[in-house]
């Protein structure tokens, strides 16, 4: 790993008129890392990506790519490549012309262009498509041309703006692996924007969760999964989403108490002030289901859904939980079940600040 980070964002601020789109963003990306920017719509991830490309101006802060200051530098001098959500392939040019566009602009000699095209075409699997026009290609093929166009430039960084959202589910799964494999093979530095947290979790070395223009948390995918710093991150990462239940810390300081007399309290793994208002977070996959006797809480099943390999249970009020278990079940709506959660997997968040405790 080289000493100099490939991309450095220090204190980035951006305003659209009076709307504060990006608030004091700090992010350092070393060379060769695959970073995912995730978040709900409007969180500022695309804005951040476009600012990195130079397509948007920043209002404050410092931006460096490969050690060079990028503030005020126009996009075409930044040497970054972007794969757009709509691919932005030039419709009036063939695949080959699309790929070599940037090289032609620089006046690269024909022989060199031909070699570069061949190499990229082989890498991406486009060899026999070079003379087609974009309108003659399928969605997946167009996506690969978009990537080929980026690769041929050997840029300092690859920027992806939700490139897979226009593809169908099966193709998306396939392309996820291909993109990551390509990144590894090229030793590239990539910044990948998506609203799909599964993409982020499976593809990235480092995940940045954004919300309302701020970075809520960043870290390795499993870090974010095991130790979410806020309720938002906990609910955003992981599918199906975490269950949240308002509660209070019990008098013993070591368990949570729910405001229903018929629900037993849950032990937690730490010591907290008794009486404190909290939110309890339970991941559906961490809730164990047992027979209707013994330890744990007793709840009634409302809905049972099976995909063949997994079963999703939803319990009734007063405590509506989503539970995921592997395999099949004999349970049916109306049955009573005993649910329990190991204390290590009970997440506690402060009711006010929503930060993890």
């Amino acid at each position: 790993m080289s000493a100099e980070p490939q991309i450095e964002l220090i204190g980035i601020d951006k305003y659209y008129g009076s709307f504060h789109a990006l608030k004091d963003i700090n992010l350092t990306i070393p060379k060769g890392q695959f970073v995912a920017l995730v978040g709900p719509s409007g969180c500022g991830k695309s804005t951040l990506l476009r600012s990195l490309a130079g397509l948007e101006n920043i209002s404050g802060g410092t931006m460096k790519i490969a050690g060079a200051l990028m503030n005020g530098v126009p996009p075409r001098k930044r040497d970054v490549a972007m794969v757009f959500q709509s691919y932005a392939l030039y419709p009036h040019m063939t695949v080959e012309q699309n790929l070599t566009y940037s090289l032609r602009l620089k006046g690269v000699p024909k022989e060199e262009m031909r070699r570069a095209t061949e190499e990229v075409a082989r890498t991406i699997g486009l060899d026999n498509l070079l003379h087609r026009y974009p309108r003659e290609l399928s969605g997946g093929q167009r996506q690969r041309v978009a990537m080929g166009r980026a690769i041929i430039r050997h840029p300092k960084a690859f920027l992806f703006d939700e490139p897979l959202s226009n593809l169908d589910a099966a193709l998306r799964v396939h392309m996820r692996k291909e993109i990551r494999a390509l990144h590894d093979r090229l030793g590239a530095t990539s910044v990948y924007v998506t609203h799909d947290q599964i993409e982020a979790m499976t593809m990235a070395d480092h995940v940045v969760v954004m919300r309302d223009g701020v970075i809520e948390q960043q870290g390795s995918p499993l870090d974010l999964y095991d130790r979410p710093a806020t309720r938002f991150v906990a609910g955003f990462i992981g599918s199906p989403a975490m269950n949240f239940i308002p509660a209070r810390i019990g008098p013993d300081g070591a368990s949570t108490v729910f405001d229903r007399p018929d629900i037993r309290s849950l032990p937690i793994g730490k010591k907290l002030d008794p009486g404190r208002e909290v939110i309890v977070g339970l991941r559906p996959e961490h809730i164990t289901v047992g027979a209707a006797d013994g330890a744990g809480m007793t709840l009634k099943v409302a809905v049972v859904e099976s995909t063949g390999s997994l079963t999703y249970l939803t319990t009734e009020e007063p405590l509506q939980l989503t539970i995921v278990m592997t395999g099949r079940t004999e349970l049916a709506p109306g049955d009573a079940v005993q649910v329990s959660v190991p204390s290590a997997h009970v997440h506690i968040f402060d009711a006010e600040t929503e930060r993890a405790l």
Binding site: G54, L55, E56, N57, P74
Partner: protein, 275 residues
Amino acid sequence: MTRTYTPWFLLAVALGLAAIYLFPVYWMYVTSVKSGSEIFSNPPTFWPADPNVGVFGDVWARRAMPTYLWNSVVIAGGVTAITVVLGTGCAYVLARYRNVWIDIGLFCVLMLQVLPASVMVTPLFVGFNQIGLLNYPRTAVVLAAAAKAMPFFVVLVRATFMSVPRELEESALVDGNSRVGAFFSIVLPLARNGILVCAILTFMSAFGEYIYSKSIIQSPVLQPASVGLSGFLGPNSTDWNSIMAYSAIYVTPILAIFVILQRRIVAGLTSGALK
């Protein structure tokens, strides 16, 4: 894209460009209220020194404007009526299907749009003469001008119909409507705005119709305002006062309508009607 110009600078330039372009219109109004000699002054004044607003009333009476303008309205109204009645249905059918016959039909309609009036006026005059239609000159002009206006109308309105989703008409048919019923109760109301815009454009254009009127209508009582203007407008005119005042009265209703409906018109034209 990041641009260094502020939007306000661009706005200023835009206003400047518009001012330059609209200068002739401004000049028309300004000249009409200038005194006779001021028009010929050297250098010319850009604002009338002693505006004579009475010139409008003057020209109105002296040049028989009420008659002329009324004829213009009659002709424009007739043209619009025929064009809308015949053209709307045609546009609807041409929008509904996509096959070889439609292509041929569209091509024929377009071809007929393309012929200059000065090409058409000779045979029309001779032909009208032969069937005695020249005894009803305004009717003859209405027919001729409607034929001139219809192809353009059909092309524009067809685009409007193409933006009405086919599913709405189909669900009306499934609900028990006949084609006629579906057309009048579902499709037509939805296309109403586009048709209205095109009808207004047709009216405004027919209001200024000149060549057919000049060639076919001999009697001054039946001539429209355009012919009336040509009576004292020519390469060697000097009575600019009256000419501009006449033009101003003639053109102001159209300009007023245009300014009020400008948004609608531009939106209707740019949203695909011009393809």
